[in-house]
């Protein structure tokens, strides 16, 4: 049964997005997941919530295929046996299930029972999302984590992290190598777990967008928009058209800024410092244009419930338009320089290859997925306003190596510049914000926005008196981190920074 038929069976989850909800029993849960995997649907997220009657829990899994988004809900009680894990069909589910156990104490049938987000900061038999009284008590180190050992003649291990040798987020990588060649990489994440999901419940629901924007700071617009989409869906409101368009403008600016930063860093990792200097200069100018237009370099508090925090002024629009029309040709000429540079090409081509079949099997998502022939782009396949009215070109490649991910980023910068200039020209003239009323207790909403890395999914539930009872933000890095472990196999250790940067996955968005 294709995803669309399951979708027809289900009830709309919210008024706004086309996401639907279906409550299932364990057998149907497994059958549906199996069919979704066969139909090449994407697993967006897997998380736990309390059942509405406060007795027992719901294991939820969100999937998306072209035009259809579906959330399966499996009711479960403490006394039940482990629920069926989805990792046989969607390998990325494994870490989500392990995290769900750490936070809720509910086991999946997944044979991997190692903790994931819980290191040793809080006691093993306590579950912070279930019990608000859980406080930090342990040391926080988890030197006992059981990495998979690779044995054999001449095999040795390199442990790296959590503190890395650059200005980046912390995480641990365990390489098993022979000579310079990587036989296996195993990641151990969770170091920046700072309790975001529980923290959400301290916020009034009309202010949670501020925390959402800080789940992963480089995706501030995408998260804040996903949050607002969920909230506005709950109360059944539409924001003014101008707000839709300005949100899309902010989202595309965020995409451009991140791609620029990474394109520079990738040149640098390939030994071409010129690239870093040029792209970081362009990025700085973009951030300054952002500041002139929206009052912020990074657009943290721009997207708010009901619309935009502040309107875009004439002069702000002018500054942005001016900059973007100069940016596009500059980036194109830098692309020529990258393409013609033998040393850069030599490092990019063939490095960190994720073949399309592997990408499909592991569920690679976002721009990295598009570089491995996985077409999904939520802006096209599951669009919200104003993307429904924007003719966006899908960017894909099939080679799946660093060069392909670089090519997708270059193309996306151009496409986002084109889109942003179009938005600036055709901005509807309406108010930029209307008031968003608080939702009723028990209301449920979802948001789905194509951030620069990939789809940002967020599920929100309203508590009593304008509070948040549950908020689960989900970063595409959950899906892509495990793929990085495969991308590096057979490559040499010195290429790891380059390959890693070509994905540039989020730690904070994943660790929560």
């Amino acid at each position: 049964m294709p995803v669309r038929l399951w979708w027809d069976l289900a009830a709309p989850a919210t008024q706004a997005a086309g996401m639907r909800r279906l409550t299932v029993d364990a057998a149907t849960w497994v059958r549906a997941a199996e069919e979704f995997a066969a139909a090449d649907a994407h697993l967006l997220a897997l998380w736990v919530a309390r059942a509405p009657n406060q007795e027992g829990f719901l294991i939820r899994a969100a999937f998306v295929a072209a035009g259809a988004g579906l959330i399966l809900e499996l009711p479960i009680a403490d006394c039940d046996p482990p629920y069926p894990g989805l990792e046989p069909f969607f390998p990325a589910a494994s870490r989500m299930q392990r995290a769900a156990y750490d936070l809720w104490g509910l086991r999946a049938t997944d044979p991997d029972r190692r903790p994931w987000l819980r290191h040793a900061a809080w006691p093993e038999d306590q579950y912070p999302l279930r019990n608000p009284a859980v406080m930090a008590a342990g040391t926080g180190i988890s030197e006992a984590y059981r990495f998979v050992r690779v044995a054999g003649d001449g095999v040795h291990e390199i442990p790296v992290g959590p503190v890395h040798a650059g200005i980046i987020e912390p995480g641990h990588f365990r390489f098993s190598i022979v000579g310079e060649k990587v036989l296996r990489l195993e990641e151990h994440l969770g170091y920046v777990h700072k309790g975001i999901e529980r923290r959400f419940t301290d916020f009034p629901i009309l202010e949670g967008h501020r925390l959402a924007a800080r789940v992963s700071g480089d995706c501030a617009v995408a998260y804040a928009w996903a949050y607002c989409q969920a909230l506005e869906g709950m109360v059944g409101m539409r924001v003014p058209a101008r707000a839709d368009w300005l949100r899309a403008l902010c989202l595309e600016l965020e995409r451009i800024a991140n791609h620029l930063g990474d394109l520079g860093a990738l040149g640098n990792d390939a030994g071409f410092a010129f690239g870093l200097a040029q792209f970081s200069r362009l990025k700085e100018h973009l951030l300054r244009a952002n500041e002139a237009a929206f009052g912020q370099r990074y657009l943290f508090d721009t997207v708010v419930p009901g619309g935009l925090h502040a309107d875009l002024s004439q002069s702000g629009a002018h500054t942005l338009g001016d900059f973007l029309s100069r940016l596009a040709p500059e980036v194109e000429s830098l692309r020529d320089i990258y393409d013609e540079h033998g040393g850069v090409r030599d490092r990019f081509v063939g490095a960190g290859r994720v073949a399309p079949e592997l990408a499909a099997r592991l569920g690679l998502i976002g721009f990295a997925g598009r570089a491995s022939a996985r077409g999904l782009d939520v802006r096209i396949d599951f669009p919200c306003a104003p993307y429904t009215d924007l003719a966006l070109r899908r960017v894909t490649r099939t080679a799946g190596d660093v060069a392909a991910r670089v090519a997708v980023r270059f193309d996306e910068v151009q496409e986002s510049c084109r889109l942003s200039l179009h938005i600036l020209k055709s901005l509807p003239s309406s108010v930029h914000r209307v008031e968003c009323p608080p939702p009723v207790q028990g209301a449920f909403g979802t948001g789905l926005i194509e951030g620069w890395r990939g789809p940002i999914f967020l599920a929100l539930e309203a508590g009593a008196a304008g509070a948040i009872s549950r908020c689960h933000p989900h970063d595409p890095s959950w899906q892509n981190w495990p793929v990085l472990e495969h991308a590096i196999i057979g490559n040499i250790v010195p290429d790891f920074p380059l390959i890693n940067k070509s994905f540039n996955l989020s730690y904070s968005g994943h660790d929560l």
Binding site: V192, K194, R198, R214, G261, S280, R297
Partner: protein
């Protein structure tokens, strides 16, 4: 190659002047003026993200771009705490990072300075204190300079660093 050189020549030097020091950012002095004078501006920084949202890192990164050009001031980021004079910490301290932060601090040779970056580093910020967050950086290690902002601009961060060694 020609295109590359042409471009370098066409753009020229874009570096801006460094901001003045701001004594208000100083929360605690440990280094005597005499030592600071000896160190001058040949400063090595080790950065640790103790639990940030990654927003502050992006602005710390910007210090390396040609416009702020921190290396032009004699200041550079180093890969090992053993080579560092100053520890730049972003984020609230996640409980899972507490020990790693302490160990990084202990690995640095004396005399050493600590600059906490962002509202999170200064107060715990939006994440506060919880089962998974120890809050502000000074809850875990001694802090000399604290730079508020969410995220603070590169100019403010640079001001904080320059204040620490003024």
């Amino acid at each position: 190659m020609f295109k590359t050189i042409k471009r370098i020549a066409a753009i020229g030097i874009v570096t801006e002047a460094a901001p003045p020091v701001d004594p208000q950012l100083c929360v605690r002095e440990i280094l005597q003026k005499r030592i600071r004078a000896l160190l001058g501006r040949a400063l090595c920084i080790r950065h640790v993200d103790a639990g940030s949202c990654n927003g502050c890192e992006l602005e710390v990164h910007a210090l390396n771009n040609p416009i702020y050009n921190i290396e032009g001031l004699g200041i550079k980021f180093v890969a090992s705490p053993r080579h560092a004079d100053l520890l730049l910490v972003t984020g609230p301290v996640a409980s899972n990072m507490r020990v790693a932060l302490q160990r990084t601090y202990e690995a640095m040779p004396d005399p050493k300075m600590v600059v906490a970056i962002g509202d999170c580093g200064c107060t715990g910020g939006i994440f506060g204190e919880s089962y998974a967050s120890c809050g502000r950086v000074s809850n875990v290690i001694a802090v000399n300079v604290a730079v508020p902002g969410c995220p603070p601009s590169p100019t403010r961060i640079l001001q904080g660093i320059l204040t620490a060694i003024a």
